[in-house]
Symmetry: C2
Subunit: 264 residues, 2 copies
């Protein structure tokens, strides 16, 4: 299970403030805390600063890389930003993300190939929202085709079927869960990943729904997630889900987390 720590995101007020003040301590601390909490990758996002996104993101990248050797997930929807900052990123990075939007495909895939980056690919296009399993699978096929055509191995592809809020479509989580299962079967070697917060948008006690969705997704084959590893209840739910999914031989990861007092 590849955990991408989501906390260094400019949509969070404390992060936006730290970026604006170039407060390295806050950013370094967020990076270290997430690594200690179990993140495999540190996501970095400065997307709320439209004109200064590349400049700020480069500073965040350099700051995080001073704090930890753990690899980064470079999070931007702007291909030009990715292109500007990618030379500053150490090896083994993730690009977060491409979609079927032609500008993102054309702008980012050659960079991913050149830098041998892993790629998160979202089942989304400019003109169509993929709400049903069928639509998500159709887009997954198109993404796989585009990525492999560029010479990027399937093993570096992380497909995010994109879950929509349950508040507006009560079948949205099931459509995503079914898509995860089929994608993992149809494309051996490919990975699936998912952000968790969309699913609970507009409903109270969101974290309970996020945990429930993550649990179900892991038992369908999800093998990566973009989440906050310092959220103790979410982390406990993830460890229990991996155990239930038969992905924790001899319960060893679960027991290690228990001994560290991390199962709530």
């Amino acid at each position: 299970m590849l955990i991408i720590g989501e906390r260094i995101n400019a949509s969070r007020k404390s992060i936006a403030e730290a970026i604006e003040c170039l407060d390295t301590d806050v950013i370094k601390n967020e990076a270290k805390t997430q690594v200690e909490a179990g993140a495999d990758y540190i996501d970095v996002n400065a997307g709320t600063f439209p004109r200064k996104e590349a400049e700020y993101l480069q500073w965040v990248i350099e700051t995080v890389q001073e704090a930890t050797d753990y690899p980064l997930s470079i999070d931007s929807s702007d291909p030009d930003v990715i292109k500007t900052v990618i030379p500053f990123v150490k090896k083994n990075l993730i690009i977060n993300s491409i979609s079927l939007e032609p500008a993102r495909l054309r702008g980012i895939l050659p960079l991913a190939a050149e830098y041998r980056a892993k790629v998160i690919a979202i089942c989304e296009s400019e003109d169509k929202i993929a709400e049903t399993t069928k639509d998500k699978l159709r887009m997954a096929h198109q993404l796989v085709e585009s990525v492999t055509k560029e010479g990027i191995p399937l093993n570096d592809l992380y497909i995010d079927p994109l879950v929509y809020p349950l508040a507006t479509n009560d079948q949205s989580a099931m459509a995503t869960l079914d898509a995860i299962e089929v994608i993992m079967k149809e494309f051996p070697g490919v990975h699936t990943t998912c952000g968790l917060t969309n699913v609970s948008y507009g409903i109270p006690n969101r974290k309970l729904i996020n945990r429930s969705f993550l649990t179900a997704a892991v038992t369908r084959g999800l093998n990566s997630a973009i989440l906050d590893p310092t959220d103790t209840q979410l982390f406990g739910a993830l460890k229990a889900a991996l155990l239930v999914a038969g992905k924790d031989e001899f319960c060893s990861e679960y027991l290690a987390a228990f001994r560290k007092g991390r199962l709530k």
Copy 2:
């Protein structure tokens, strides 16, 4: 989702003591509390008193029926006990349970037909433990055949694929989850149910694993469970799982539970 409240079980010390002292208050209180907490059926079990099981179970049945109009799930592995107590049970009961053991099939199915009872049927036989999905499905087929041959409608059948402890077989939960999905597809109208505690036997923080397993099972089609509805975290996990599973139109059950302060 049919919730069978499991608390009135003589394997619990407080219940065994109440039964021995014929303490009606304890039993009535357990019945009422579970109904208030959302149970649809009240399970009653006096199985730890081998020679006095029928006598004690009859007393428990009469006591619970004085406390509530909610229907009962009569829980015994002994066909003779079921036969003795069933005339004292009000309509709409569940018999918990049959298995492929010939004595239980022969002893209980005619009673179930006569009293138009719902039946919980466990994927278990005398000589074989059904650890794999394939074995569970084979037994489910045999159970469906036996039950329908007796004239009991599929709609009254609750198949329990029987989950084994993850501590001894790390694929046991997945085998059960896959079985639930296939059973619900292969036999339209049939129900699936499950006890939750087996899965976590021998592992610390059992309730976390039980919640995780229930969550995954509900998103595979499980539409009944034998559980403690007064366990707030488990109840919250169930409501969230139903929402994620697309079985809570307009999030109305989830929101109602939230307003009552029951989502933890």
